[in-house]
């Protein structure tokens, strides 16, 4: 949260409609995302009750568990979900593209595109994670055999859920979070967790204000929750009788009738959210993508390609918990990704950069003086070191000696020579790089008086990561090397009830 976003929320309240907090889109939106809306049975760790899933707004697939406490029916559900999701994933495993980046690196290929799964909210991601956990260790043989597709589904769901922790990854997204990244509503972040309410603010139905739409969205009767949790009164007054009816249905016809009305009721709970999901997709598509969205999606494609290969080589399922080394390594990845993602968004989006200008870590202003031809003769050989003075209204909190750069001129460094902090503030910068080899700068390579520029210490230049010990070299301080994973009977037999 920041003052800019807070102000946007205040404006949203006043103008009764959500306010933009970005000028570009920061998430990748696939041409063919898979929308997944799971419902879980109240009171259980991850007992699927139903799911609406599909990559075509026109045709939703509804999966229902008539007896959520029945183990076989749960795995039947998992198998059903597997056919949809694995089928979807498979469609991305044909087309490849060249991914050999950098002159030195040997040519490399990756899949030309990757799957993108959209769930309504963070809890939906949690459900994906748990369903993955409860299925990935299953076996298709032995006493507790399940459909061979089930453990594969489990691994993919786990892969997606783990990827969703990775800042900037878009393989698995929560609609509410994707929206909240671009719009500030006039309600609290807690209330933004409700997809319908948030969409109500962002894009109120005609004839309604944002707050009106949000209020309507809070009535579980007119607007059922987006899951995985269901509304208690629906459970008690509608679901329970229908499930009971299925249980005592006498004969195929009755069973069929009972299940039909159960499906009807659940479909009634899911369809509104299904529509909202695709509306959200439309809204996001409407935003122009930021320049660094595509490169980030490439990283997702790499991850996808990597996991396909891993599965192909028969790698074991993801462990229950990270080992000491795996944990440290993952934390390192996450922290780098976090930093990189924050900076990339700032460089892509002046409104995000404004957050840094607000805190004084960046400033934007006009060049009021320039010595493009200045030569630094102090060193052994003379160097071209132009000086420019930038005048800005921003609260500059950068000390002299800091090295800055500006989004438009990646190759050029700017050393802060002096700062006259005041309103306006004046910052004198010494430029180096990006001006050609000669002692005279290439035309246009030095900002001219009147140019408007934004300078910041942020840079997404790559910092190298230092080695971690190998798993089998886990030091004594961290419990020594962990045992290798061997699939145990319990993994496969673990009761799911």
């Amino acid at each position: 949260m920041s003052t800019l976003t807070a102000l946007a929320r205040a404006r949203a309240v006043a103008s009764a409609v959500a306010q933009p907090i970005s000028t570009v889109r920061h998430v990748h939106v696939s041409d063919r995302p898979l929308v997944l809306i799971p419902l879980a049975l109240a009171g259980e760790a991850s007992a699927p009750l139903a799911a609406m899933v599909g990559d075509d707004p026109g045709s939703a697939r509804l999966l229902v568990v008539a007896q959520p406490r029945n183990r076989d029916q749960r795995f039947a559900f998992a198998a059903g979900l597997a056919t949809v999701i694995l089928g979807y994933i498979d469609t991305f495993r044909s087309a490849v593209e060249d991914a050999s980046s950098g002159a030195d690196r040997e040519p490399r290929q990756r899949f030309a595109d990757a799957p993108q799964v959209l769930v309504p909210n963070r809890a939906g991601i949690g459900f994906v994670r748990l369903l993955g956990r409860s299925t990935r260790f299953r076996r298709s043989d032995g006493e507790y055999a399940v459909d061979p597709a089930v453990p594969v589904l489990g691994r993919w769901l786990t892969f997606l859920a783990e990827r969703a922790e990775y800042p900037g990854s878009c393989l698995l997204l929560a609609a509410t979070e994707a929206l909240a990244l671009h719009w500030a509503s006039g309600q609290s972040p807690v209330e933004d967790l409700n997809l319908a309410a948030l969409l109500g603010w962002v894009d109120p139905p005609s004839g309604m204000t944002g707050p009106e739409a949000a209020a309507a969205a809070e009535d579980p009767l007119t607007c059922p929750p987006a899951g995985p949790a269901t509304d208690p009164t629906f459970d008690n007054e509608v679901l329970a009788p229908l499930i009971a009816a299925c249980a005592r249905a006498d004969g195929d016809a009755a069973a069929h009738r009972a299940e039909a009305s159960l499906r009807a009721a659940l479909s009634g709970q899911l369809t509104p959210t299904w529509k909202l999901m695709w509306r959200a997709v439309g809204l996001l598509r409407g935003l122009p993508p930021g320049g660094r969205v595509a490169p980030r999606w490439d990283a997702d494609k790499d991850a996808f390609t990597g996991y396909v290969t891993y599965l192909g080589e028969g790698g074991p399922p993801q462990p229950r918990r990270d080992s000491a080394v795996a944990a440290a390594r993952r934390l390192d990845w996450l922290e780098r990704a976090q930093a990189g993602y924050a900076i990339q968004r700032a460089l892509d989006d002046p409104l995000v950069m404004a957050e840094y200008r607000m805190t004084g870590e960046a400033f934007a202003g006009t060049v009021t003086a320039a010595e493009p031809g200045r030569i630094d003769g102090t060193g052994r050989r003379r160097k071209l070191r132009p000086l420019i003075t930038v005048t800005t209204e921003d609260p500059v909190r950068i000390e002299a000696g800091t090295v800055l750069s500006t989004p438009g001129r990646p190759g050029q460094k700017a050393l802060v020579v002096s700062v006259y902090a005041g309103r306006p503030a004046r910052v004198v910068l010494e430029l180096s790089g990006g001006m050609g080899r000669a002692l005279i700068p290439v035309p246009g390579s030095v900002p001219e008086v009147g140019d408007r520029l934004c300078y910041t210490a942020l840079s997404d230049s790559y910092q190298r990561s230092w080695p971690f010990p190998a798993r089998e070299q886990t030091p004594w301080t961290h419990g020594g090397p962990p045992p290798e994973y061997v699939p145990a009977d319990e993994d496969a037999s673990e009761v799911w009830s």
Partner: protein
């Protein structure tokens, strides 16, 4: 049809509103209407399919009706266990060793029926299904059924008795399993559940050997039986002295300040 469908939708909504606003009376009324509408819906559908409507509450077809009256079944199970037991266990035992499952619904009223019939005509039946008695107050022990022909000692529940009964039951189950030519899955599962909670009875996740369970249970029994026995004998004596026949079977409902309490 659509008419009914709309009614159902409307009623569902109203019931839920009533439930949220905590207006129980209204909710109850609406709920009744709703169920009625749903039944109507079901029947009309059935009529469309020219099939008899699902008779509500009827047992699923795949389960054959009980061959014996329920009290006989319970008696069977209790006799096998040889200790007072709760519904869940009785049902599990019956399913494991006598095939047919027991309808829990029928069990709930059982104890009351038995007491009524005993008070009406004492000892006119070979046995009655009665309660276990709490050792301190000789009151009916919650949820435990026993057999009238057992000595009171066996029906008394002292502080250690639940555990002792559990261990004895485990032994009996294991032994009956050994006697079976081909134990049922259910029986195996039942033994497994017992073994899991008796130290040393389960080697690994699934015990294969009933003998192990018997041995382990006996080992733990050793520790408790003496103390438990004396409590039971003392209580039984008190029961014989203080309680009339009916009370001896179905427990005293005297409103006593507990002998063991310090009082309010």
């Amino acid at each position: 049809m659509d008419e009914i469908e709309r009614t159902i939708e409307r009623l569902r909504a109203e019931v839920r509103r009533a439930a949220v606003s905590g207006d129980r009376t209204r909710a109850r009324a609406m709920r009744a209407e709703l169920r009625e509408a749903e039944r109507a819906w079901d029947e009309s559908l059935a009529r469309l399919e020219e099939r008899p409507p699902a008779s509500l509450g009827s047992a699923p077809v795949d389960q054959p009706g009980p061959l014996l009256p329920v009290r006989e079944q319970v008696h069977q199970a209790l006799t096998l266990l040889g200790t007072p037991a709760a519904q869940r266990l009785i049902i599990a035992v019956h399913e494991a060793f006598f095939g047919s499952p027991l309808a829990a619904a029928r069990l709930t009223s059982l104890r009351r029926d038995e007491e009524r019939s005993f008070r009406a005509a004492p000892y006119s039946r070979p046995y009655y299904l009665c309660t276990a008695l709490t050792a301190d107050l000789l009151a009916p022990a919650r949820g435990l059924l026993a057999v009238s022909t057992w000595p009171i000692e066996r029906r008394v529940i002292g502080p250690l008795s639940p555990r002792v009964n559990y261990l004895e039951a485990a032994i009996r189950v294991a032994e009956s399993l050994l006697r079976m030519p081909k134990p049922s899955q259910a029986a195996e599962r039942l033994l497994r559940r017992f073994a899991a909670n008796i130290p040393g009875a389960a080697d690994g996740a699934r015990p294969k050997d009933p003998h192990l369970v018997v041995a382990a249970a006996h080992a733990e029994l050793e520790i408790h039986s003496a103390e438990d026995g004396s409590v039971r004998r003392e209580a039984a004596a008190r029961a014989r002295a203080r309680l009339d026949d009916a009370e001896q079977l179905f427990g005293s409902r005297m409103r006593v300040i507990p002998r063991t309490g310090t009082g309010a």
